[in-house]
C-alpha cells in the first residue's frame, strides 16, 4: 500500500517534503504540476540520472564520427581534388562534426532522459488513484511507503490522504 498526501500549493508541498525528511520519514516521490527546484534533495535517497555526462559523451562520439566520416570519404575512399585544396580540408570539414555533435546530444539526451525516468510507461500503479490526474494540473501529492503512512497521516497536515493499493 502507498499513501498520497495531498497539498494544494507548491509552498505547502515543499515545506511538507522538508519536514518529512527532517523527521526521518522521507517521501518516496512527489507528484507535482510544476518543477520544484531543490526539493528533490529531501526525498528518500535515489540514484540521480547523470544526463549531462550522457549528453557530453554522445556529443563527443557524434562529433568524432562526423569528422571520421568526412576524413575517410575525402582522403581514403573517394578523394577529389577540388580547387587544389588538400584532401583533408579541415576548415571546411568543421561544420559537419559541429552539427553532428549537437544532433547526437539532442537525440541521445531525449532518449537518455526517457530511460532515466523509466518512460514511456503509459500505466503506472499510482494512476489507480483518481486524484493523480490532478497532479499534472493543480495538486501536489507526496508519495509515502506504507511504513511511513501512519506518520504522514498524523503529522503532515495534508489537505487529504489517499491510499493506493499497488
Amino acid at each position: 500500500m502507498t499513501v498520497l498526501a495531498e497539498f494544494s500549493t507548491a509552498q505547502a508541498a515543499t515545506d511538507a517534503v522538508a519536514a518529512a525528511s527532517r523527521a526521518g520519514h522521507p517521501a518516496r516521490d512527489v507528484l507535482s504540476p510544476v518543477p520544484l527546484e531543490g526539493t528533490a534533495e529531501h526525498l528518500a535517497p535515489y540514484a540521480k540520472g547523470k544526463i549531462g555526462w550522457v549528453m557530453f559523451v554522445a556529443g563527443a562520439v557524434g562529433g568524432l564520427a562526423g569528422w571520421f566520416m568526412q576524413w575517410y570519404s575525402a582522403v581514403v575512399d573517394y578523394p577529389i581534388i577540388s580547387g587544389g585544396r588538400p584532401m583533408n580540408s579541415w576548415p571546411a570539414f568543421l561544420l559537419v562534426p559541429y552539427e553532428a555533435a549537437i544532433l547526437s546530444m539532442g537525440v541521445v539526451g531525449l532518449l537518455g532522459w526517457m530511460w532515466m525516468c523509466g518512460l514511456p510507461k503509459l500505466f503506472h500503479p499510482l494512476f489507480a488513484a483518481p486524484i493523480v490526474e490532478r497532479a499534472v494540473q493543480d495538486k501536489w501529492l507526496l508519495v509515502f511507503e506504507s511504513a511511513d503512512a501512519h506518520w504522514a497521516r498524523a503529522h503532515l497536515g495534508a489537505d487529504a490522504v489517499h491510499e493506493v493499493r499497488e
Partner: protein, 445 residues
C-alpha cells in the same frame, strides 16, 4: 517588478482552462473559418505550383542564366531567418533567465518548426532534379560515391536538417507535461488516448522533473550556438563565393542578426493574432510587446550599422566591382526596392524608441509587418543585386519574377498559416506548466 501574467488569473485551474480552451472549447467563428479557408486555398496553390514545377521544371520561375538563385534561395534565407527567433526566444531567454519567455516560447518554437520546414523546401524545389535530393546525403551506394564536403549545398543540408530535428526534440521535451494535461482534459476517449501515448505516461514525478529541468537547460544551451551556426552556414553559401557584395566577413553575424530581427517581428504578429483569437490577454500582455519592441529596436540599429559598413568597406576597399554594386543598388532598376528596404528596416523601427509606441500593440504589429517586408526585400536584393552585376558585364541582367514565383511565395505563407491554425487547435499554444510556475513565483502562492 514587472508582472508577466496579467490580472484576472486567480488559480492554477484558470491557467490550465484558458490555455487548453482553444482545443477543448474552441470558438469557431466565421472569421476563423474564413482565415482557415483562405490559408487552405493558398496551401492548395502551393501544392499546385509544386506539382507544375515538378512536371515542367524550374523554367517556370524567373531564374535566368545570370540570376540563377532568384526567388527560391532568397525565400529560403528569409523563411529560415524567421524560424530562428523561435529558438532564440525559447533557448536564449531560458539560459539568461528572462521570465517573459514563458508565454511566448511554445508558439514561437512551433513557428520555428513550420518556418524552417518551409525554408527547407525551397532549395529542394530549386534543385533542377529534386528527385536526386538524396545524393547530398552520405549513404552506401553501388557507385561508391560520397558527397562533396566542401560544397555549401551539403553544409546547408547538415545545418537545416540538424536544426529542424533538434528544434523538434526541444519542442517535444517541453510539450510532454502539457500533453499529460490534455490526457486528463481532452473531451473524447480517443483524444485522451492519443495525448496519453505522446505524454509517455508523464505523472509529474519530482524525480522526472529534476532530470527534465537539467536536460531542458542543456538543450537550450545547445540550441543557442546551433541557431548561430545555422544562419552563419547559410551566409557562407554567399560569403564563401567570390562575388562582389557576398565575399564579406561581416556576413555570418549580419545574417544571424537579420534572422533574429525578422523572426521577432513574426513572433509579434503571431502573438497579437493568438492573443486576440484565443483570449490570451492575461498571458500575452502589453509588457511582452514592449519587451520585443526593444529587441526589434536594437536589431534595427545593428542592421543599419551593417548596411553602412557594407557601403564603407566597398568604398574604402577600392574594388571597382564592389563600388559599382553599391552604386547599382542606389541608382539601378532595383533602387526603389532598396530604398524601401532601408526605410522599412532602419528608419521606421526607430519609432520604437518611444515607450508609447512600444506599449501600443497595434503600432508594434504594424512596425513588425513592415520589418518582415523589409527583411524579405533585403534577402531578395542580396541575391538579385550581386548576381545582376558581378564581374562580367556581358552577363549583366535583371530578375523579373513570374506568376509561379509569387505563387510559391504566397503559397508557402498560406501553408505556414494553415499549419499554425491546425497547431492551435490540437496542441496548447502556451506552455501551461511554465505559466503555472511563473504564476506561483509572481503571486507567491
Amino acid at each position: 517588478m514587472t508582472r508577466w501574467i496579467g490580472e484576472g488569473i486567480d488559480s492554477l485551474e484558470e491557467i490550465d482552462a484558458r490555455v487548453i480552451a482553444p482545443i477543448v472549447a474552441p470558438r469557431l467563428t466565421w472569421r476563423w473559418w474564413l482565415a482557415f479557408a483562405f490559408s487552405g486555398s493558398l496551401t492548395l496553390l502551393m501544392i499546385g505550383t509544386v506539382t507544375w514545377l515538378f512536371v515542367h521544371g524550374i523554367g517556370i520561375f524567373g531564374n535566368n542564366t545570370t540570376i540563377v538563385w532568384g526567388f527560391p534561395i532568397a525565400n529560403y534565407v528569409w523563411w529560415l531567418g524567421i524560424g530562428h527567433a523561435g529558438t532564440l526566444i525559447s533557448a536564449l531567454l531560458l539560459v539568461t533567465r528572462q521570465k517573459w519567455r514563458g508565454s511566448l516560447n511554445r508558439f514561437a518554437e512551433t513557428m520555428t518548426l513550420f518556418a524552417a520546414s518551409m525554408a527547407g523546401l525551397f532549395p529542394i524545389f530549386h534543385l533542377g532534379r529534386p528527385y536526386y535530393l538524396y545524393w547530398i546525403v552520405p549513404y552506401p551506394n553501388v557507385q561508391g560515391l560520397w558527397p562533396q564536403w566542401r560544397s555549401a549545398l551539403v553544409w546547408d543540408l547538415w545545418a537545416v536538417g540538424t536544426y529542424i530535428t533538434f528544434s523538434a526534440l526541444f519542442w517535444y521535451a517541453g510539450l510532454i507535461p502539457d500533453l499529460a494535461l490534455l490526457r486528463e482534459r481532452a473531451k473524447t476517449r480517443l483524444a485522451r488516448r492519443i495525448y496519453g501515448v505522446f505524454a509517455l505516461g508523464w505523472r509529474g514525478s519530482l524525480k522526472h522533473w529534476e532530470v527534465h529541468t537539467r536536460f531542458y537547460r542543456y538543450m537550450a544551451a545547445l540550441a543557442v550556438p546551433l541557431v548561430v551556426s545555422v544562419h552563419s552556414i547559410i551566409s557562407l553559401d554567399f560569403a564563401a563565393s567570390l562575388e562582389p557584395g557576398w565575399s564579406d566577413t561581416i556576413y555570418p553575424p549580419y545574417f544571424v542578426v537579420g534572422a533574429l530581427y525578422s523572426g521577432f517581428a513574426m513572433v509579434v504578429v503571431l502573438a497579437a493574432a493568438l492573443r486576440w483569437a484565443c483570449s490570451f490577454e492575461p498571458f500575452i500582455t502589453v509588457n511582452h510587446f514592449e519587451m520585443i519592441g526593444r529587441v526589434l529596436l536594437m536589431a534595427s540599429i545593428i542592421m543599419g550599422v551593417s548596411y553602412a559598413s557594407e557601403w564603407l568597406w566597398s568604398w574604402y576597399g577600392g574594388e571597382r566591382p564592389e563600388r559599382h554594386l553599391v552604386a547599382f543598388l542606389f541608382t539601378g532598376p532595383y533602387a526603389p526596392l532598396y530604398y524601401c528596404q532601408l526605410l522599412f528596416n532602419v528608419v521606421v523601427p526607430q519609432a520604437l524608441w518611444f515607450r508609447r509606441v512600444r506599449s501600443n500593440i497595434a503600432a508594434v504589429v504594424i512596425i513588425s509587418i513592415v520589418i518582415n517586408i523589409g527583411m524579405w526585400l533585403e534577402r531578395i536584393l542580396i541575391v538579385w543585386a550581386t548576381l545582376s552585376r558581378d564581374y562580367l558585364p556581358s552577363a549583366w541582367r535583371i530578375f523579373l519574377p513570374t506568376f509561379w514565383d509569387w505563387a510559391l511565395l504566397f503559397g508557402s505563407l498560406g501553408a505556414f498559416m494553415f499549419l499554425f491554425m491546425l497547431f492551435v487547435r490540437v496542441l496548447p499554444a502556451l506552455p501551461a506548466h511554465e505559466l503555472r510556475k511563473l504564476w506561483i513565483e509572481e503571486r507567491g502562492a
